[in-house]
């Protein structure tokens, strides 16, 4: 017996949203609090000492981090282009743009791995000092979110795309939802970059 779950393709009359969209925004609200707690810790650490090191003085690689910022911004654009193409009924182009997004995410992680390796070679670990403790915690948690996004994108490009044949609207909505998550990951980096590397 096939039981259809309501409101995963169209909006509920009372909320004006399909359920997954409201769900992702509630999830993002919890994510704001998660990262907010760590940003709060950073402020506490930073204001609690007379001198807080600059990221560049601590040897953080600003050119690589700038490149990562551009890559993440580019991936935000590619995911909305994927969504736009799916709304135009073009799965092929939608998947290509999703692939671009996945490659950008992979590029981001590779650059992050290079940065981490450089730090480890110089003997900089989370235990080294409070700066590196908060640096590795924030960028590590952010990296985990990028990794999570990559897994979801890989699924939606591959086996998850079968849904297009039977439930186009639902598949398109899934891309919008993962896109919202991805933009949040981008937003977090937009603040992490200046706060950790430049100030």
């Amino acid at each position: 017996m096939h039981i259809e779950i309501p409101y995963n393709s169209t909006a509920r009359p009372d909320t004006g949203l399909y359920n997954a969209k409201l769900g992702i925004w509630l999830f993002l609200a919890s994510e704001v609090m998660l990262f907010g707690a760590l940003f709060s810790s950073l402020i506490l650490l930073r204001t609690g000492v007379p001198h807080w090191p600059h990221g560049r003085d601590e040897g953080l690689n600003i050119p690589l981090a700038t490149l990562n910022t551009l890559i993440l911004i580019g991936s935000s654009v590619s995911v909305v282009l994927a969504w736009a193409n799916l709304r135009l009924g073009n799965l092929k182009k939608g998947r290509i743009w999703l692939g671009v997004t996945l490659m950008c995410a992979l590029g981001f992680m590779v650059i992050k791995a290079i940065e981490y390796t450089d730090k480890f070679k110089l003997g900089h670990f989370p235990k080294t000092n409070n700066f590196y403790a908060i640096y590795f915690t924030l960028t590590g948690l952010h990296g985990l979110h990028v990794l999570g996004g990559m897994i979801v994108f890989a699924y939606l490009i591959g086996p998850g795309a079968k849904m297009w044949d039977t439930e186009r609207t639902r598949y398109t909505n899934r891309i919008e939802v993962v896109g919202l998550y991805w933009h949040f990951v981008d937003l977090v980096w937009i603040f992490l970059f200046p706060v950790l590397y430049l100030l």
């Binding site: 259809e4 309501p6 409101y7 393709s9 169209t10 909006a11 509920r12 009359p13 909320t15 004006g16 949203l17 409201l22 925004w25 509630l26 609200a29 704001v32 609090m33 907010g36 940003f39 709060s40 402020i43 506490l44 204001t47 609690g48 560049r56 600003i62 700038t66 551009l70 911004i73 935000s76 654009v77 909305v80 282009l81 736009a84 709304r87 135009l88 009924g89 073009n90 182009k93 039977t166 439930e167 186009r168 609207t169 639902r170 909505n173 919008e176 896109g179 919202l180 933009h183 949040f184 981008d186 937003l187 937009i190 603040f191 970059f193 200046p194 706060v195 590397y197 430049l198 100030l199």
Partner: protein
């Protein structure tokens, strides 16, 4: 993107659009022309974000006093966040319920950021 062949999406036989009394989401049901217009907007926002990233880095190398450098960097980051949230996340044309969720989130987020400042003043008050 402009070379995309605009095809009208094939009706989804499994969608519950007409069977569960769903309403139209303003961000989902656009004409191909409107979607193409959106795409152009996304590209413009991308260019703006790239330029603002350059400005952020440029400010950092100007060696301003810390309060000015922090204020400038956070202002530029906030503008970038507005562009991402407003255009890519469509918060400029979203449902009221989303705004309500975000308002509550912003309130508690502000409390989180305020808490360490409170400690900061306690520290100097001793």
């Amino acid at each position: 993107m402009e070379t995309t062949t605009a095809t009208t999406p094939t009706p989804d036989p499994h969608t519950d659009e007409h069977t569960h009394g769903g309403v139209h989401d303003p961000n989902l049901h656009h004409s191909p022309e409107e979607i193409k217009k959106e795409v152009r907007k996304y590209i413009v926002v991308f260019v703006a974000l790239a330029c603002l990233t350059g400005i952020t880095v440029g400010i950092a190398y100007q060696h301003f006093d810390p309060p000015i450098a922090i204020a400038a960097a956070l202002i530029v980051a906030s503008v970038k966040a507005f562009l991402v949230a407003g255009y890519f996340m469509h918060l400029l044309s979203e449902r009221k319920l989303i705004y309500a969720v975000l308002a509550i989130t912003v309130f508690f987020f502000s409390m989180l950021l305020w808490a360490p400042w409170n400690h900061h003043y306690d520290y100097f008050g001793r």
